[in-house]
């Protein structure tokens, strides 16, 4: 800080220096924000530009190309990814919502905090460890399967679903609960009849966000469902083809044809992930505003 000087409206050299420093800092912050947007734009445009030329109806509906054969498509990847994410959601949605209900509606503080900590730690867990864990649990000694991959993805989703559910449950006004209790309604009917219905929208959008995240996860699938057939497979008892792993495989290939396929698949995945998360976020912000006020 500059030493106190006789007051002057004009400002001396130190004042000018302070203004210059201030200006530099402001410009730097503006540039940083611009930089982040630029990176996003560059990545999205790179993928779109390279991917769009490959995408056709045939590409989206054909089986995977056999090794070294030109052409082919990604229908099995889309179907497989959908099934895997479906399994993950079927596991994570009930578990996440129940855990959130336990934390906000039932648990005393002393029990709530270790559960909360578990969720936070689970959320921060490197996803490759989930892959290793499920490999050790379900795959090692058996075989890769859609169940294993879906379970691994569900561990990614549980803390996300739980957290977004918790947030929206907290927004349900306490007065609503109190009013119901005052009418003599029991706790379980308050939870099922009052709290959950008002939180439903938030839970759905939170789950959609978690789905968008899980759809792009590769590491949990790499050891659990990565050796698959090249046509559409729907039996979760066997390894299911899926987009993230196949993009990974193609990106490591030296064949430029495979790179093209990787870009096109990446575009499909990116469009799905970005569109769903933008929409879900928009809905979430709107409903939060409505409930928060």
């Amino acid at each position: 800080m500059a030493a106190v000087e006789p007051f002057s409206l004009r400002g001396g050299a130190s004042s000018r220096r302070r203004r210059v420093v201030n200006r530099i800092a402001e410009v730097a912050a503006n540039l940083a924000a611009l930089g982040a947007i630029a990176v996003l734009a560059i990545v999205v445009i790179s993928v779109a530009k390279r991917g769009i030329s490959e995408i056709s109806w045939g590409f989206l509906t054909s089986d995977l190309p056999l090794f070294g054969v030109p052409g082919g498509g990604i229908a099995p990847l889309i179907v497989g990814s959908a099934i895997l994410v479906g399994i993950a959601t079927a596991i994570a949605l009930p578990l996440g919502v129940l855990t959130a209900l336990f934390l906000t509606e039932f648990a005393p503080r002393r029990i709530a905090s270790p559960v909360q900590l578990t969720l936070d730690l689970m959320n921060g867990l490197p996803s490759v460890i989930l892959g290793v864990f499920v490999f050790g649990l379900l795959v090692y000694g058996h075989q890769q399967s859609g169940w294993a991959g879906g379970f691994a993805l569900s561990i990614v989703m549980i803390p996300l679903v739980a957290r977004s559910t918790q947030e929206v449950l907290r927004l349900v006004p306490q007065t609503q609960r109190d009013a119901a209790f005052a009418l003599g309604v029991s706790r379980w009917r308050v939870v099922l009849g009052v709290v959950l219905p008002s939180a439903l929208g938030g839970i759905v959008t939170g789950t959609v966000l978690a789905i968008a995240r899980a759809a792009g996860e590769t590491a949990p699938l790499l050891f659990t469902t990565s050796i698959f057939v090249n046509n559409v497979a729907t039996n979760p008892g066997e390894a299911l083809p899926n987009m993230p792993v196949q993009i990974f495989i193609w990106s490591e290939s030296p064949d430029p044809e495979d790179h093209k396929r990787a870009w096109a698949t990446a575009l499909v995945l990116l469009v799905f992930v970005l569109v769903t998360s933008v929409l879900a976020r928009a809905v979430l912000i709107r409903s939060r505003k409505k409930m928060g006020q």
Partner: protein, 321 residues
Amino acid sequence: MSSVPITHTLTGARRARDWIGDRILFLLTLLGSLAAIAIMVGIAYKVLRGAHLSFSKFGLGFLTGTTWDAANNVFGAGTFLYGTAVTCAIALLLGGPFAIAIALFLSELAPRGVRPVVGTLVEMLAAIPSVVLGLWGILVMGPFVAHHIEPWLHDYFGWIPLFGEPSTGSDVFVAGLILAIMIVPIVASICRELFLGVPQDLEDGALALGATRWEMVRGVVLSGSRPGIAAALILGLGRALGEAIAVTQVIGSATAINKSLFQPGDTLASRIAAQFQGAVSELQISSLFYLAAILLVIGLVTNLLAQVIVRRFEVQQTGGI
């Protein structure tokens, strides 16, 4: 809600039903929570268990051993610990200040109408699947960095061993850059929340005393949220530590420590991702589990640390008001 006659609420049947209903829902939610805890415990157990064979063979020497030789069944994590440390350092050094600047822009500088738009765009950066970012990294950014940035760094800073001969685009430096991109949105969004939480009165007070905006930011916003910023950076670090896919794609894979950043390397996570499929011997699989165990411990410690800081900080904040 259907109206219930008062006399009805007092009947024994209704009370019994409510008693049962309450217990069932409580038990269900309890079970859900226990399942979450069981999964966490199961992860720790399975990973440590899987590492047992390798641990009994190599012990703690595994941490410093820099040999990874599948043919002779000698394994060590030293190279990958080094690679993890270096890539994370690059990510934090480049991404950290960048993210804090973005958070300042979002919380202090940007016009109200611009904030949600830019905020959403920054969060979209976090939504990009890592495999897509890695694809872009290996085919677009890597070659660009290798042809334009690395030669420049080598020319001016080549006397530092870190900046050796430029590579072909798959190296530790590129991996660090990709990780920086990944942690920016995480750190930025946490920091933005922190900065928004700084009392407006304090900011106004500083400005009223004649501070410039930057002086206000430095003196009030940044100094007040220092622990929170540390927690945000640690959470970012946790993300960078564990990223496997994108790093595997761009880092090039190496079994020895290279002094230069412009040489291939490997991190704990990328080695696991790259080798798990092709692992041949029990010992190699177990050694990969050992790597996962190290990663698990580091990941849990960093996350716990961040949680502790956040909780203490929150207590301080609410206690102070």
